[in-house]
């Protein structure tokens, strides 16, 4: 990882990312005033933070700041860095299980979900906001602009690079951003939130994405094996009541942390006071804050002032519960399955490296996510979407 960081840092520097130990540079503006410009070891930090799916930016504007992410090439490399290790781990998984196809299957499921997320975010950004047209803004793509909803985005990146970055950062628990999440169209922002709410399993964090997806694989296998008339097994290991209890506990922990946290947030005065917006957008702000915290994503929807005592404590507690009550059962599943005898596969065994399994895994992730968050999302992003088209903004 260190050599890659060195190479990436140098590429970033070549593209114009600043890299210095000096704190500030004072420049004279055209009007003759003195301007203090903050600089620092940005390139080296960018390289390592994105590879480690950590999203903290050197500048508050994160990857939309020209010193952090100056060109389309650096933008592309940053998206790639975010996904590289979580995606690479699926191949490690294939190697460790002795069957590369097992890893490829998990990778394929993640890729399908990721591609869908990019498609959804892109198409809603492309469709734009009808109210902006009413207000006189031109949202049609032309030689001089990408078109669509460019509010809160860097013109350098346009909607394409912004939605790709937005999908990657929410899918892979990175949290770095190159556009304002809050300014996305409602359903596009909702998609970003769903990426996290699914449990950060679409590539996810380095390590956490893989084990999160494997919990869903255990659930998918449980249903699939029953339907072919066998007691459930994954990778030749039987899945009994113990593994089931642990896997379901992990799923429950994430759902409970997000839902209970947000529910408290939307009915307490302290929770409501920190909102920037009212109505469904305000609900999305609160939902996003808890979802991002529990998913260890770190990206902010913006708008909500999370630096209040209420949110510091509430999100902190939810983050702790949502993370550790997920990790502990996962470790326990690993321990329990490692101790089990391996069952050799036969024609009656349901193959977990087939396209059918990939489809089923995607289905289970979506169904569990949809069933858990549909009502909350219906009153947040979905309602906002319909109201936006009715000309109501928040």
């Amino acid at each position: 990882m260190l050599p890659i960081c060195v190479v990436l840092s140098l590429v970033y520097v070549s593209q114009g990312v600043v890299q210095t130990l000096a704190g500030t540079v004072t420049a004279g503006t055209i009007q003759g005033a003195a301007q203090t410009i903050h600089v620092g070891p940005v390139a080296s930090q960018e390289a390592v933070k994105l590879l480690g799916t950590n999203g903290g930016g050197f500048f508050n504007a994160n990857s939309s700041h020209p010193f952090e992410n100056p060109t389309p090439l650096t933008d592309f490399l940053q998206v790639l860095s975010i996904l590289a290790i979580p995606a690479g781990l699926t191949f490690m998984f294939g190697k460790m299980t002795g069957n590369m196809r097992q890893g490829v299957a998990v990778f394929a499921a993640m890729l399908i979900l990721f591609t869908a997320s990019v498609a959804v975010m892109y198409s809603f950004e492309r469709a734009g906001n009808p109210n902006l047209t009413t207000a006189g803004a031109n949202q049609v793509a032309s030689a001089t602009q990408t078109g669509g909803n460019t509010e809160g985005k860097e013109v350098r990146f346009g909607i394409e690079a912004s939605t790709l970055f937005g999908s990657a950062t929410t899918a892979a628990s990175a949290g770095a951003v190159n556009a304002s999440m809050s300014s996305l169209t409602p359903l596009s922002g909702g998609m970003a939130m769903l990426n996290i709410a699914l449990g950060e399993v679409v590539f996810g964090g380095a390590g956490s994405g893989l084990y999160g997806m494997l919990v869903f694989a255990v659930l998918a296998v449980f249903i699939a094996c029953l339907m072919v008339g066998r007691t459930p097994e994954y990778l030749g290991k039987k899945i009994g009541p113990k593994e089931m209890k642990l896997a379901m506990f992990a799923v429950l922990a994430v759902a409970a942390s997000i839902l209970v946290g947000s529910a408290i947030g939307v009915v307490t005065p302290a929770g409501l006071a920190a909102r920037l917006s009212a109505g469904p957008h305000g609900l999305t702000e609160i939902l996003y804050a808890f979802t991002s915290g529990v998913g260890n994503n770190g990206s902010a929807f913006a708008g909500l002032n999370a630096a209040t005592r209420f949110y510091a404590v509430a999100i902190g507690v939810c983050m702790m519960l949502g993370r550790y009550l997920f990790i502990i059962p996962v470790l326990a599943i690993a321990g329990s399955m490692a101790a089990k005898k391996r069952v050799p596969p036969s024609a009656g065994t349901f193959p977990t490296d087939s396209p059918l399994f990939v489809g089923l895994l995607v289905g289970v992730v979506l169904i569990v996510g949809a069933l858990t968050f549909f009502p909350a999302f219906a009153l947040g992003p979905v309602l906002e979407h319909f109201l936006m088209h009715a000309g109501q903004l928040f």
Partner: protein, 695 residues
């Protein structure tokens, strides 16, 4: 004991056909009893073992409370709406209870018939030389009883003296009487069966309350039914889903309050009940009971539900050649004497060696020998000593008038002849090979130190068995033929029958070794057996099916008993096991997939008043909030009833590969589970509007 023994030559018993047991209550009585039971099961103390339904019942109680509250203070929901919601919530629980009661009812009816047999039986216990009459219920293990023609055998045991024909129809449903005799593999008798002829002395082998009949009653009744590991795992899935939906509904109230449209508790309960997996939750236990019942109807008794599930997982089937792969018994086909011996001489010796051999093969030798003009003869005990077959010597015969006549496996008889100082003519080997290569079984016959020749026993492979094995292979199950034959013979038959592998010259030890080897590779092994020497292997196998005609030891070692004593049944047992798991999986998928449509029915209904724009989610175009909520809850209840037959019958089973089965079931129960409720809820909505049941 008589001094003389009559040689019996009789036709082998006809192959047993599974028959419907008499005395099962009619379906109308069953339904009436099940309806009664569904109300009895409302008792929270008994319902709480089914957490999903327990939650529904709590919801029903709360909504019922709101109905009465409505009488005092009216709300905008109205008494008509609230009382219908309460009613359908109660129906949901009742329907689930009904499904369970229906499944239990079938078993109970059988149990009642069986129970009548246990009462009123008197036992003639031998106390020294005296015989004392006591109630059968007071019999202890180790007692010896005398049972004469016309009497009912008072308890399970082994015949230690005599031979009798026994009517076991009460247990097996098979009306043809069976022979039970002391010694050998046909000595076990079951309490409740009736002696038809002769008189036997039985050593009781079970304590009161633990007889075969008692165990059978508890099994068919489902009284001692314990949840299997897979059922527990599925329960965990369902309970956690219920908890998640509880969180979803409770947090929805917070989001709803935020959005300025608080939802009434009764409607939240309706939403919760729609979302939690009531379909599978309500049908789970009936699926399990019905699976056991399906086995009982195939005349197989499983000692635990765990064994049934294991049957679905079996990787390797050990099948005895005889009776399973080949038609019941080998028949003597021809006598092949070595040079210098006539066919008649060989036939004569072979018949003598087979007189005490009650096996069908032995009888067929006697029958074939008759064609050489050799008739039955009387052998006097004092000059005759029968040498029974043992697994160790692998030969049997008779010492008669100073001659030692033996017949048996080639190498055993050759060794025996040589040990007496004789030499074996070189032609014998050719004869043996000729028989073996044609797939027959050679039986070498010797008199004293001379090998006389070979009896050709012919095996006939059962029709259709090859297709059966092809199906098993598609399901991923390997079949191994177990036979005492030599490897050459075994290979011919194995090829003809299409088994994957065979174990030739199988001794109980070799069988055991094979099971251990398979299990060491992580495979699950199923086998059938009847003899005492099968007992260790039956116990070692993951699914051990003992034949009812077998010894007590075999029956105790196995985890299933086949009352028809038909070894082919193993294949059906595997299918029933798979079907049980498939039904569970299919209904779970269906149940969860249903939720998508229910969301689209209820969520817009809840908030359309405050946010008419959310009406865009009302894809079914349901009439009103009230009609939408009612349609969803009614669909939810009715779908349980609609699926009761499926839960009892099991999903259609086809012997196909895993991927094909999964694709088909995902299409039917996954996709179907998503689409069906959209249609169903819409239809119910139309009906509700037509009947003016909702605003």
């Amino acid at each position: 004991m008589t001094d003389e023994m009559e040689m019996h030559v009789e036709a082998p018993e006809g192959s047993a056909q599974p028959r419907k047991r008499a005395g099962v209550a009619t379906s109308r009585e069953l339904v009436r009893e099940a309806i009664l039971q569904s109300f009895v099961k409302l008792n929270p103390m008994s319902l709480w073992h089914n957490p999903v339904m327990f939650i529904v019942e709590i919801g029903a109680v709360i909504v019922t409370f709101y109905v009465f509250a409505e009488l005092v203070v009216t709300t905008d929901q109205g008494i008509l709406f609230l009382s219908q919601i309460a009613l359908w919530l109660w129906f949901t629980v009742l329907f689930a209870n009904f499904a369970e009661a229906m499944a239990e009812g079938r078993g109970k009816a059988q149990a009642d018939t069986l129970r009548q047999m246990t009462t009123d039986t008197l036992a003639n216990v031998m106390k020294g030389d005296a015989i004392e009459q006591i109630s059968a219920a007071k019999l202890r293990k180790g007692d010896t009883v005398v049972v004469s023609a016309g009497e009912t055998i008072p308890g399970d045991g082994d015949v230690i003296q005599g031979i009798a024909s026994v009517d076991e129809s009460a247990i097996t449903g098979e009306s043809a009487p069976v022979i039970r005799e002391s010694g050998g593999d046909r000595s076990a008798v079951t309490g409740g069966t009736k002696v038809l002829s002769d008189r036997i002395v039985v050593l009781i082998t079970s304590e009161p309350g633990q007889t075969f009949l008692d165990r059978m009653i508890t099994l068919v009744e489902g009284a001692s039914r314990q949840k299997t590991p897979n059922e527990i795992a599925l329960d965990i899935l369902l309970v956690t889903l219920t908890m998640i939906f509880l969180l979803v509904t409770v947090s929805l109230e917070a989001f709803a309050m935020y959005s300025g449209q608080a939802v009434a508790v009764s409607i939240l309960i309706a939403l919760l009940v729609c979302l939690i997996p009531t379909t599978i939750g309500g049908l789970l236990s009936s699926i399990g009971i019905a699976g056991m019942d399906r086995l009982v109807r195939h005349n197989v008794l499983a000692m635990s539900g765990r064994a049934v599930e294991a049957a679905g997982d079996v990787n390797t089937l050990l099948l005895d050649k005889t009776g399973t792969i080949t038609l019941g018994n080998r028949q003597a086909h021809e006598f092949l004497p070595v040079p210098g011996v006539t066919e008649a001489e060989l036939a004569d010796a072979a018949q003598l060696a087979s007189i005490s051999d009650e096996t069908p093969e032995g009888r067929s030798i006697v029958v074939l020998a008759k064609q050489f003009g050799i008739r039955e003869r009387h052998l006097h005990q004092n000059e005759t000593e029968f040498i029974p077959f043992t697994a160790l010597t692998r030969m049997s015969g008779v010492d008669w008038q100073g001659h030692r006549i033996r017949k048996g496996a080639t190498d055993s008889v050759i060794a025996w002849v040589e040990s007496l100082g004789g030499t074996v003519p070189p032609e014998l080997e050719g004869l043996v090979r000729r028989v073996a290569e044609s797939g027959g079984t050679p039986l070498v016959v010797s008199m004293d130190d001379k090998a006389l020749g070979v009896v050709h026993l012919k095996d006939i492979v059962k029709g259709g068995i090859r297709e059966r094995f092809d199906q098993l292979r598609a399901m991923g199950i390997r079949t191994v033929m177990i036979t005492g034959d030599n490897p050459v013979t075994a290979a011919v038959i194995a090829k003809e029958a299409g088994v994957d592998d065979f174990l030739a010259q199988a001794t109980p030890e070799a069988k055991m070794e094979l099971i251990r080897k398979e299990q060491a590779q992580g495979k699950l092994v199923a086998m059938t057996g009847d003899g005492t020497n099968d007992a260790p292997a039956l116990a070692q196998a993951d699914v051990g099916v003992a034949m009812n005609t077998g010894t007590t030891a075999a029956k105790e070692a196995g985890n299933m008993v086949d009352l028809d004593s038909n070894p082919t049944k193993l294949i059906e047992i595997v299918e029933i096991g798979k079907q049980l798991l498939m039904t569970r999986g299919a209904l779970t998928t269906f149940s969860i997939a249903n939720d998508v449509a229910k969301y689209f029915a209820i969520i817009p209904a809840l908030f359309m008043a405050r946010y008419p724009q959310l009406g865009a989610l009302n894809v079914m175009g349901l009439h009103s909030s009230q009609s939408a909520i009612m349609s969803a809850i009614i669909f939810n209840a009715l779908v349980i009833v609609a699926l009761i037959p499926l839960s009892l019958k099991g999903v259609k089973y086809r012997p196909l590969g895993a991927a094909v089965v999964l694709r088909r079931n995902l299409l039917v129960y996954g996709l179907g589970g998503i689409i069906a409720p959209f249609i169903g809820i819409k239809l119910i909505d139309v009906l509700i509007v037509a009947l003016h049941l909702a605003r």
